[in-house]
Amino acid sequence: MASTVFRSLQSFPFCLHPTTLFRRKNGIFYCTIKGKHSQTATQEKQTSNVKVSSHPAIKTLDKILKDYEAIIGIETHVQLSTLTKAFCNCPYNYGSPPNTSVCPVCMGLPGALPVLNSKVIDSAIKVGLALNCKLSLNSKFDRKQYFYPDLPKGYQISQFDIPIATGGFIDLDLPVEFGGGHRRFGITRVHMEEDAGKLLHSDSGSYSQVDLNRAGVPLLEIVSEPDMRNGIEAAEYAAELQRLVRYLGVGNGNMQEGSLRCDVNISIRPIGQSQFGTKVEIKNLNSFSSVSRAIDFEISRQVQLHSQGQGDQIVQETRLWEEGAQKTVTMRKKEGLADYRYFPEPDLPGVILTDEYVKDIHNSLPELPEIKRRRYEKMGLSMQDVLFLANDINVAKYFDATIAKGADVKLAANWIMGDIAAYMKNEKLTIDEIKLTPQELAELIASIKAGTISGKIGKEILFELLAKGGTVKGIIEEKDLVQIIDPAEIEKMVDKVLLDNPKQLEQYRGGKTKLQGYFAGQVMKASKGKANPGLLNKILLEKLNAKSS
């Protein structure tokens, strides 16, 4: 029986038809490239130096660009991290060996039927609400029909004329280093659909193989209004969507694994012209920086053509972003509109939501990135701080937990963005993996503020807590680190240091006042760093400048 399902798989484990001879056509097929871990748009752009405007061959481009505006819209596919696929009980784990997470339903065997995983609806509602959309209480699934080897049934279960959510918007703040500013981009629609499998091509190009692990994994397709005007805005839009799905916990939003995929539509027109230019689609954007750079490349390509009177060479087509060459190349020209022959999916009943159900989900939504940023802003944090803290849901949670324990907002932000972030970077840890709890960070901040320990000691304790855990109080007690604030005790130490260094004292009193630092160091050393620096200096000066008795 397995021999039927995996007929040719037996001899060639991951090759469905080893004799399959369909040739690879110019660049039509491409595989997702495994890459490093995802970064946010902000982080990436800080390291990205590639700027179209710096291209040496186009000296006047900057000037020409000012006469044009780009119209950019994005279609984003977000993979939902439900336990099982959209219409069957197969789990999905990225990177599993090919065809190990398949069943009759997601392989499209004769007689198999889809049954909707209700978690997909929950996720779609969450995203729809988070994007300020209007939800369709009465939506349905449709079949989108086309032939391709990664599409087992010959149709994709999707939503056509009644998507689950429509007409929303997303708010975001551009990074300070790119000029900052608040933006609101429109959301046209959000709909549910299933993912396709993957084609793997032999090195020789003589055959292709199909991996159906991904087939049937739930996706949300989010279509934006054409509201973006440059690469940064587009990349930040995608980053905000990633932030949103991570905040909502509906997906991992990882671009390198293809859990978040962006297809960009872009056209240009001279400023003042109301008519849109010819729309070009760009695919294969595996990171936020490639979104940004591909768009900026494409804008300059189109503007150049247009400004040189070659506007007719901008044709409706799909272009591929080539990461290596840092340019877009033609993938396929559109031959009219594809007819997908949509019709309502007869195997699935309509998706009917009640107001109450939606309300329950609405009430369970977490604080969303935009609201969090506005809250942080009101706390008095700078936009740089706000963006850093709200960027990653886990960092934000850590920060929120710390201030909930009474920690000073600005100090907590400084510690997290400073020493803690540096430690995480060095040790390659996430904030969930460090041993310092928000409770202890709050305690540490409070101890320094109260003068129980010095800032210097605080730092030492911090690194100890980060690496080994434990409590601030425990370490202070264990190592006897309480700051000495008793003037008599400090005076004693000062006296001893002055007594032990008669030569230096003589030099000081002879006018070499620079030696004050030396004495202060000696006293601090004697106190094992615990002496309150202010008191120490005050007493030391008094003693140094006192008439010798």
Partner: protein, 545 residues
């Protein structure tokens, strides 16, 4: 004597209410009823008994072993099959399963209510480890890794799948001539078609090659062959039986249905396969009543057993174009129902004639999509090609038959941009109108009746080159699928033809999920029908010569 026939073992699920008496007779392989010979009823109406219950009694009383029983069927199957060609595949494990059952009975273990019952399964219904081709070249040799839910349930209750029955490719046709592999003959006259698309299942039950069988009904594919072959055919309400494992033709219309040589057998089989299935989102959560509890045996019937029942004879089904013999058989059946106490009146369904075009648009549209998966990439026949489009095109061109290609083309056309509104959308609107008109008629009547087909079985080849004539033959049945209603077809008379006449089927249409009423009425009807014996000549004649 009665007391000695109490079943010695517990019955699990189906009550054995009717008490039949059995003579200890040696088996005559070619007799129409090898197992049951009732001493209570007239031989002339002996076809009204449940073979399933008889088998159960014989096995549990020790009158017959499962092996003997199965051998008698297999012998008949071997003798009749060269003339009928109703099976595409016959299981080679039937005897072994019978043997296991005998061992179980010997050990006094509880056996399921379908124990020892040989079931034919239409070849578009998946059976694990057994070929399931849908009658198509493109799936030649394909063996599914799973059982359809209906098949799984039958097996769980002890039923034995005897084999896979022939059909029009993927259920598309009304004659079974559309099979990629063979043409099945009608047991009443082997020069005639058995109907379709479930022709193999109907012929197999008619010729007693198996006890009951599963078919599928998208536009009449159970009911019309039941009528042509003189057996009982039951099309359940859409959603009553899980479609999981049924190769989809038109998903919104497809249902798995039952064939039996008696209403009771069809009811028992329906009982076995009904119910919600979490693998089919369109299967209903409606409670499944005990379909067999309402059966009243003949000797207990009152003089007017169906008193008060309102029957509506659908006027449009007896218009021109309906064979006069069929017409009079149906009118005879209507009088018979009146004699049983029903009030029969004519009812008009003005939208009736719209059903056929709407059906062919919707069914073709859905089929064009459902058959996309047969692309030669993962399973089934794949041609060698050096380019992707050629791989698809050639695999499908070689794998699909003429009728299937025609329907895919029609459906693709109807769903294309610019045509969708004029065809698919309009057909859906017609469907809604039809549903409403049936609802109105069923508010006024308990059951609607009509012929199951405009004519009795016609000659093989007669309509092969005239698809429109073949499609027109579906006029009696397609409306019921569009409305999703249950319908029972049972033999009610004969017209001239063949050596012994050709059977005519009466269609009874009920309200959604009211199969119970159809079965009850059908059971009374068949038991009280005089002078009709629906046993085809192929098993009463000497076919071995």
């Amino acid at each position: 004597m009665l007391s000695s026939l109490q079943p010695p073992r517990t019955l699990s699920r189906f009550p054995s209410k009717p008490i039949y008496l059995f003579r200890k007779t040696s088996l005559k392989p070619l007799s129409s009823q090898p197992i049951t010979n009732s001493t209570l009823t007239d031989q002339s109406q002996s076809q009204t008994h449940s073979q399933i219950l008889s088998i159960r009694h014989s096995l549990l009383c020790g009158q017959l072993t499962a092996t003997q029983l199965v051998e008698s069927f297999l012998t008949r199957l071997r003798q009749t099959e060269p003339h009928l060609r109703s099976f595409l595949h016959v299981s080679d494990t039937v005897l072994r399963q019978a043997n296991e059952l005998d061992e179980k009975i010997k050990r006094n273990e509880e056996v399921g209510p379908l124990a020892g019952v040989l079931v034919g399964v239409k070849d578009n219904i998946c059976t694990a480890g057994m070929p399931s081709t849908g009658g198509s070249r493109i799936l030649e040799g394909y063996q599914p890794p799973f059982d359809a839910t209906a098949v799984r349930k039958i097996k769980e209750l002890g039923g034995i799948v005897v084999g896979k029955t022939n059909l029009d490719e993927f259920g598309m046709g009304s004659t079974t001539e559309g099979s990629a592999f063979q043409v099945t003959a009608n047991p009443w006259d082997v020069s005639r078609v058995p109907g379709g698309s479930s022709g193999g299942s109907a012929a197999a039950v008619s010729a007693r090659q198996c006890v009951v069988s599963l078919g599928s009904d998208t536009g009449g594919s159970v009911r019309q062959p039941a009528s042509f072959c003189g057996v009982v055919g039951l099309k359940p309400t859409y959603g009553r039986v899980s479609r999981f494992g049924l190769m989809a033709y038109a998903s919104s219309l497809d249902v798995i249905g039952c064939f039996g040589s008696s209403v009771e057998d069809a009811g028992i089989l329906l009982q076995a396969i009904s119910g919600h299935d979490k693998l089919d989102a369109t299967s209903s959560k409606q409670e499944v009543p005990d379909f067999t509890s309402q059966f009243i045996s003949l000797n207990l019937l009152e003089s007017k057993p169906l008193k008060g029942l309102r029957i509506g004879l659908i006027r449009e089904t007896l218009d021109d174009g309906v064979d006069s013999g069929v017409n009079s058989a149906i009118r005879g059946a209507a009088s018979h129902l009146e004699e049983l106490g029903c009030s029969v009146s004519e009812v008009s369904l003005p939208s009736f004639s719209l059903g056929l075009p709407a059906y062919y648009i919707l069914a073709s549209s859905e089929s064009s999509s459902n058959l996309s998966r047969y692309d030669g990439v993962r399973y089934g026949n794949q041609v060698t090609a050096d380019e992707l489009n050629a791989l698809y095109g050639d695999s499908r061109a070689k794998g699909f038959g003429h009728e299937v290609k025609m329907r895919i083309l029609m459906g693709t056309y109807a769903l294309s941009a610019g045509y969708y509104d004029a065809y698919y959308k309009r057909a859906q609107q017609v469907r809604t109108i039809i549903q409403k008109s049936f609802k109105a008629a069923l508010d006024e009547h308990d059951i609607l009746i009509s012929p199951a087909a405009p004519s009795a079985a016609y000659k093989i080849g007669e309509k092969k080159n005239d698809p429109l004539a073949m499609y027109a033959g579906d006029i009696m049945t397609v409306n019921v699928n569009l409305a999703g209603l249950p319908a029972l077809v049972l033999p009610c008379g004969f017209v001239d033809g063949g050596s012994a006449g050709l059977p005519v089927g009466l269609q009874m249409i009920g309200a959604p999920f009211d199969e119970e009423k159809l079965l009850k009425v059908g059971h009374v009807f068949e038991q009280t029908l005089q002078n009709c014996r629906f046993v085809p000549p192929i098993i009463t004649d000497d076919v071995a010569s």
